[in-house]
């Protein structure tokens, strides 16, 4: 029976990750990348790969560290605390999980390249302004032994820099997932100017050729490959958001202890104390939902739907609360670009939207809970 308590290994992993990230990727590093207009730090990603993070979900026989979903969540959480920019979620969590559902030599080779940090992926799923894979309209028309893909994808996170794309498209009797190089003829990528200063792209597919070999899993059955990948991403994103919540919260509580007004620390005011305390309570409750999601994904993935949607919904509402309280309690300085709180607020908003917003996951919870 799995317990809702961090194992010794997980605690060590978190400590180790924190130590590394405080040195290699503090918020100041994120700020530098933002100022330079960079959305990817190749050197950092290589270092993460060398530590086994890129291969956190890659089997050992493909060169991965195969630490499991709960461990991936631990890493995502630590990255969230300092707003680390990396393709961890799209490549190491989602693409790796999708590829793992397929047991052929090509998938194994792709997993090995993920683990080594040599190949990055992005998921081209969404077409409208809301996450809704079932509503995919992009078509993959049968063409000889292969397909021709035409249509538009939007909010493709890491889509401008990724080496490869997992593309969801309609085929004759369902949806099919394709694994194709991002520079294939007919693909036009337009980088979006995102509020969180990260990589996301709008991608236009114009009669793009895909062979049967490019199909990941079975034709017309994308979801058996994609659903576990999305769930892994949703859980890890929830963990990242809990991390950014912790980052914003620590800054805020620190500020309450040092900022003086009316001749005393503002943290002496009960109005602020109780709001901060309430926020802490929310972070504790959210932590339980995230830990549970990791445990369910590792131990009972077939029945993890409720746990994952609960984690993403709860992490979303808590993160939104944390950054709002963060800015408000900092007052005017919280509104300035020179101060980091705004970064947390903008990342929280993007995280809230990505892979299903609060309502999307609340509806899933409701459906599973008899509403």
């Amino acid at each position: 029976m799995s317990k809702l308590v961090l194992t010794e290994e997980e605690t060590m992993l978190a400590d180790m990750a924190r130590g590394f990230l405080d040195g290699a990727a503090p918020v100041t590093a994120f700020r530098k990348l933002r100022d330079a207009g960079e959305t990817h730090d190749a050197k950092l990603w290589k270092e993460m790969a060398d530590m086994g993070w890129a291969g956190v979900l890659v089997p050992e026989d493909a060169g991965g560290s195969d630490m499991g979903f709960a461990a991936a969540n631990v890493l995502a959480g630590e990255m969230g605390k300092t707003l680390v920019m990396s393709p961890f979620l799209s490549t190491a969590v989602m693409a790796a999980t999708a590829l793992r559902q397929v047991s052929d030599a090509r998938a194994k080779d792709a997993l090995a390249k993920i683990a080594s940090g040599d190949v990055t992926y992005a998921l081209a799923i969404d077409e409208g302004i809301k996450h809704d894979p079932d509503a995919t309209t992009m078509e993959a028309k049968a063409d000889g032994n292969g397909f021709r893909l035409s249509g538009k994808k939007t909010f493709v996170v890491d889509g401008a820099m990724a080496d490869r794309l997992l593309v969801l498209a309609k085929t004759e009797n369902g949806l099919t997932l394709f694994d194709i190089p991002a520079d294939r003829a007919g693909i036009a990528r337009e980088k979006s100017n995102m509020i969180d200063a990260r990589d996301a792209a709008k991608i236009d597919f114009s009669n793009v050729e895909a062979t049967g070999d490019d199909v990941l899993g079975q034709v017309d059955d994308a979801m058996s490959v994609l659903k576990p990948a999305l769930q892994a991403g949703q859980a890890a994103l929830a963990a990242e958001m809990a991390g950014l919540t912790a980052g914003a919260f620590d800054m805020t509580v620190g500020y309450l202890k040092e900022r003086k007004q009316f001749g005393t620390e503002i943290g002496r005011f009960q109005a602020l104390q109780h709001r901060a305390a309430h926020l802490w309570c929310e972070t504790e409750v959210t932590a339980s939902a995230i830990l549970n999601a990791g445990r369910m994904m590792d131990n009972d993935p077939e029945n993890a739907d409720l746990a994952v949607s609960l984690a993403k919904a709860k992490a979303t509402s808590t993160a939104i609360l944390a950054v709002q309280e963060g800015v408000q309690m900092h007052g005017g300085i919280g509104m300035t670009d020179a101060f980091d709180m705004g970064f947390y607020m903008k990342r929280a908003r993007v995280g809230a939207e990505w892979l299903g917003d609060f309502s999307y996951h609340a509806e899933k919870v409701a459906a599973l809970r008899g509403f």
Binding site: M1, K3, L310, R369, G370
Partner: protein, 389 residues
């Protein structure tokens, strides 16, 4: 159950036992005010099945499954306890016995009591023979609980107790009371309190029920006039009763946070509860209910997580304040939603949707009793966040 039994063997054995021993009438959840069996000398069983169910469980130690066997329990470990909760929930079994002895005094005695006190007081609690009530609050000691003034004068072999308690739940039906009594008026307020066990039949003990907004009188005033309490009836050390009181409060808070919202174990989803009835659920109310359900699930998992942490030796210091605050606020919200969903039918006492109004009004006490939400937030603020007092 035997040592060395695997979890699955334990589950199978328990499932068979429950199947054979839990009367059909006791398989309806039954955690409403009417369905609870409180036990005690004055208890009148509502059915033969309720009596049978209590006796069968008590014989196995299942009224207090985690307590040691010589205290009336079944000595289940954390994993077995989880299985026990799951299997009880699976057949929607009623809890065989609830009492302040189980929730509050028991844990305090297990921690602070002498071996003699444990084996003397706990088995009758486990068997439902003795019902306890709690003598904490006073008219001048609500949120400022350590300000209790009920006084125990040292008379050599006994204390002579005088004073008044309030909000003593079910004191009129209880056999015994655990009370905070000032035994040193000179010391600082936290350091002059003793934790005493008093027989409700003693000369000089009187109770008077207080009618509440819910129409019922679960709370009482309790008066002590020259009540003789033997020196042996103290838990812990003289004048250090505040340590016992605080420890007990953490259990009370966990009980209030989880019990009310039906969060632990077979708690039913709000969606299922609302769909079962003829309630209307418009889009706005449905959204509120969904938020409530999400919070209920997450708080329920947090209860589990803290239990797991406690078992792993990672004590979550002031977690009970957090759980109490979150659980009770949620429970109030849940009942607001149920009232709205019930429409005008919910506005009648014992109408078509049962005692929904009474239950709703009762929940308003949740965020007051056992420490108000504001006191809980102040505890978190000071002890967890380290904000200046």
């Amino acid at each position: 159950m035997s040592q060395g039994q695997t979890a699955e063997e334990f589950r199978a054995e328990l499932r068979d036992w429950l199947e054979a021993n839990c009367p059909q009438e006791m398989r309806d959840g039954g955690m409403t005010e009417d369905g609870i069996c409180w036990g005690g000398k004055n208890w009148v069983f509502t059915s033969e099945a309720q009596k049978q169910w209590l006796e069968r469980c008590a014989a196995k130690g299942y009224t207090v499954p985690t307590w040691p066997k010589d205290c009336g329990g079944a000595a289940l470990n954390r994993e077995q306890e989880k299985i026990f909760t799951e299997e009880m929930g699976r057949i929607n079994a009623r809890s065989p016995l609830e009492s302040f002895g189980i929730w509050m005094l028991g844990p305090a005695l297990l921690h602070f009591g002498t071996q003699e006190q444990k084996t003397h007081y706990l088995p009758p609690i486990a068997r439902g023979e003795v019902r306890w009530c709690q003598g904490y609050s006073e008219p001048g000691a609500g949120s400022d609980l350590a300000n209790v003034q009920t006084h125990g004068a040292d008379k050599g072999d006994h204390w002579l107790v005088n004073g008044q308690k309030i909000w003593t739940s079910y004191a009129d039906q209880a056999d015994q009371i655990f009370a905070l009594v000032r035994t040193d008026r000179e010391a600082k307020k936290h350091l002059g309190i003793s934790f005493l066990l008093i027989d409700m039949e003693d000369a000089g003990v009187e109770t008077r029920p207080i009618k509440m907004i819910s129409g019922i009188s679960p709370f009482c005033e309790t008066f002590f006039t020259d009540v003789k309490v033997p020196k042996a009836n103290i838990v812990g050390t003289e004048n250090r009763g505040w340590d016992v009181a605080k420890y007990l409060l953490t259990h009370e808070r966990e009980m209030i946070s989880g019990g009310g919202a039906g969060l632990s174990g077979g708690g039913r989803s709000l969606g299922a509860v609302l769909t079962d009835t003829l309630d209307t659920l418009d889009a706005t109310l449905r959204a509120d209910a969904m938020r409530c359900e999400i919070d209920a699930l997450a708080i329920g998992l947090t209860l589990e997580r803290y239990k797991d942490q406690a078992e792993a030796g990672q004590g979550a210091g002031d977690a009970s304040a957090m759980l109490k605050y979150m659980g009770t606020e949620l429970n109030k919200q849940r009942h607001e939603i149920m009232m709205t969903a019930g429409g005008s039918a919910a506005l009648e006492w014992d109408g078509d949707v049962g005692n929904r109004a009474g239950d709703w009004l009762r929940t308003k006490a949740n965020s007051i009793e056992g420490g108000t939400s504001e006191v809980m937030l102040s505890i978190v603020s000071r002890r967890v966040l380290g904000l200046p007092a």
